[in-house]
């Protein structure tokens, strides 16, 4: 998974990964727990504000430990609102941008050929 190079630490950076068991995208909170974004209480994300702090944060989760509960952790940059600043990471945080499964075509039947 390609992490985008961090250019700006002024709004902070956070850690994202996939949960090993579920595969779902999870974020590290300040209590060192990996949570789905919706379970991450406001202001509770573990945020670093410099390259060194970010490296320490990444090291603190022991990513190479066989028992690490997540896979492919990396650092993402935040914007002024505390959201991922890159479109890919925002999409990752919010899930597919389309309705899928049984919801996919709902509300679109007004379009005819």
């Amino acid at each position: 998974m390609a992490a985008v190079k961090i250019k700006d630490y002024s709004h902070g950076v956070m850690l994202i990964a996939n949960n090993l068991l579920s595969g779902l995208s999870v974020y590290l909170n300040s209590d060192h727990q990996w949570l789905l974004l919706e379970n991450l209480a406001q202001g509770k994300a573990a945020v670093a504000y410099s390259e060194q702090e970010a490296a320490e944060l990444l090291a603190s989760i022991n990513p190479d430990d066989f028992l690490c509960p997540v896979v492919d952790p990396y650092i993402i940059q935040l914007d002024g609102n505390g959201k991922p600043s890159h479109s890919r990471e925002l999409l990752r945080a919010t899930g597919p941008s389309i309705r899928y499964g049984a919801q996919a075509t709902q509300g679109t039947n007004d379009v005819s050929i």
Binding site: L21, S22, G23, L67, C68, P96, I98, G101, A102, T105
Partner: protein, 553 residues
């Protein structure tokens, strides 16, 4: 269709057990992620943006109702109630958990399916003409050879770590519906003497960042020669294909760097030196496969007699349009193949819900000799529908919103999962496909436009075959913003060629209007029934480029 023998079933069951053990060891922490990743990939399990994704092989795109019902059950039990059919005739599940994948694979094995070799640097699922065995224009039914090669390539010990993935496509018709010229090896089967086919081998096609059209590498192979010749070809590739740079590792690059004649000579030399003794029974094995694909015995007179009576019902405007657009001539009198569009208005190209899968399984069982096909354009086919049943099939498909009459029309868009799912993506493909399809449906009667392929890939890997579409769209990332590059004039058929890239990309917002301008320009300029690529050739890139950027308007 082919039914597993004991060896097939044991192979798949063993693999299930082996992978269950590997997953358990990963979860217990005795395998590292670095050790586990190649193992899960060998079993088709990817880690994507939001979750794991499991790619299940559908050999040469053939499915029966039991299998489709199982896929429906799996999508409910282990996923979120849907599956995604891909351009390689596979199906992908987007939300399985690691813990449950071993159970999922065991369930799949009970219906003779698996995810082996759907990833990794090995010979991938062999794809074919989705109308194999039923197309009116077919010279040779490719299914027995497909199955033969499936068996040969499955867990072939020598070819499990090739320099890069390796894709085969096979057709037995002059009208190529399998895009054989954009595969590592494309086989074109022709009628030979004494009933056996002769095989032309096309080599070195491919898409991705260096799109290439395959070259005719060896003409007129006999069935006796085919397996040893393929073995020699793969062996030369395995030895000389580049492993230092994954972008240069496909056989198309080896062909380009070595040159056609030199590579032919190397393969010939390898072929001549090859020990042929392992192949002494292979032709007998091929012949033993033919009965699995025998034509059904039908009472033709009765079928077409009833067809004449029922035909009147097919004259209603909506059903007549569906008949024209979504059914195809058949080898057998009194039958047609029914194409099912997985591109309904506002839908996601290639997606089907579990409810749709179950209904389709029931329709296939009742009306299509229990068989379905997956197409590389991400649609499905009922290959054996008697004309007398067409009206009933149309009604049944309409019930499940799958009677959209847009096969091969501009809204029949190929789109890869793109950044909504795929970890490699540089932009989204699905929402832009939906927007383009809406724009096209609104502004033009697409039935008047006729055949036109719009293919959208979410990155340069080109899974949606954008290089070989009439209108290809490639999603890129320009400083964090999605940007879409247009190529025009590509073809994936027997006259395959790579489209030409227009200028700078356009934004997602501009894209539907851009495509609309190109389509309108084509309609204005074309002569009679001229196809897009012929019009493109006649008018030229400069004029079409003007249409792309709307300068003349």
């Amino acid at each position: 269709m082919y039914q597993y023998n004991e060896v097939d079933q044991i192979t798949v069951d063993d693999r299930c057990r082996e992978f269950r053990d590997q997953v358990e060891r990963r979860i217990e922490g005795t395998l590292s992620e670095a050790e586990f990743k190649p193992l899960r990939l060998m079993n088709g399990l990817y880690l994507q943006l939001h979750a794991y994704m499991l790619r299940v092989a559908i050999p040469y795109g053939v499915l029966n109702s039991i299998q489709l019902n199982k896929l429906a059950d799996i999508s409910d039990k282990y996923d979120r109630g849907y599956g995604h059919f891909t351009t390689r005739q596979n199906i992908q599940f987007n939300w399985p958990t690691l813990e449950e994948v071993p159970d999922l694979l065991e369930e799949l094995a009970t219906v003779q399916m698996h995810a082996i070799q759907t990833s990794g640097n090995c010979i991938r699922n062999i794809t074919s003409d989705p109308l194999a065995g039923v197309a009116a224009d077919e010279e040779v039914d490719p299914r027995p050879i497909c199955e033969w090669l499936r068996q040969w390539s499955t867990l072939h010990p020598e070819f499990r770590y090739l320099p890069r993935k390796f894709k085969f496509a096979i057709t037995g018709s002059a009208n190529d519906r399998a895009a054989i010229k954009v595969h590592d090896i494309g086989l074109r089967l022709r009628k030979g003497p004494n009933g056996d086919p002769l095989i032309d081998l096309w080599l070195g096609g491919g898409q991705g960042r260096t799109p290439k059209i395959a070259q005719l590498f060896k003409q007129g192979l006999t069935v006796e020669q085919l397996l040893p010749y393929l073995e020699a070809t793969l062996r030369v590739y395995n030895l000389h294909g580049r492993r230092d740079n994954k972008y240069k590792a496909r056989i198309k690059i080896l062909l380009a760097e070595t040159g056609l004649e030199a590579l032919q000579a190397q393969v010939q030399e390898e072929y001549e030196a090859l020990d042929k003794s392992p192949f002494v029974n292979s032709v007998a094995e091929l012949k033993a496969l033919y009965p699995h694909f025998a034509q059904p015995l039908v009472d033709v007179a009765q079928a077409s007699e009833i067809a004449n009576v029922i035909d009147e019902k097919l004259s209603g405007e909506e059903v007549a349009r569906w008949y024209k657009q979504n059914t195809r001539d058949h080898k057998l009198a009194g039958f047609r193949s029914v194409m099912i569009s997985l591109k309904p208005a506002g839908g996601i190209p290639g997606d089907a819900t579990s409810a749709q899968m179950r209904a389709l399984a029931a329709i296939a069982k009742r009306f299509s000799r229990d068989e379905l096909r997956v197409t590389h354009r991400q649609n499905l086919i009922l290959p054996w529908v008697a004309e007398k049943d067409l009206y009933a099939v149309w009604l049944a498909l309409r019930e499940i919103d799958l009677a959209e009459s847009n096969i091969d029309l501009p809204s029949d868009i190929i789109a890869c999962p793109g950044m909504d799912y795929c970890a490699l993506a540089t932009a989204r493909s699905i929402p832009v496909a939906q927007d383009i399809s809406k724009a096209i449906r609104k502004t033009e009667l697409q039935h008047d436009i006729g055949k036109l392929a719009i293919n959208i890939s979410g990155c340069i890997n080109a899974c949606a075959h954008h290089h070989v579409a009439d209108i290809g769209v490639l999603g890129l990332d320009r400083a964090g913003v999605e940007n879409y590059q247009i190529t025009l004039g590509g073809r994936s058929d027997e006259n395959a060629r790579v489209g030409e890239r227009m200028g700078p990309g356009v934004s997602a917002d501009e894209l539907p209007a851009t495509i609309e301008r190109v389509v309108k320009f084509y309609i204005k300029e074309r002569r009679d029934d001229e196809t897009f690529s012929l019009t493109y050739d006649r008018i030229g890139k400069t004029e079409f480029k003007t249409a792309v950027y709307g300068v003349a308007e």
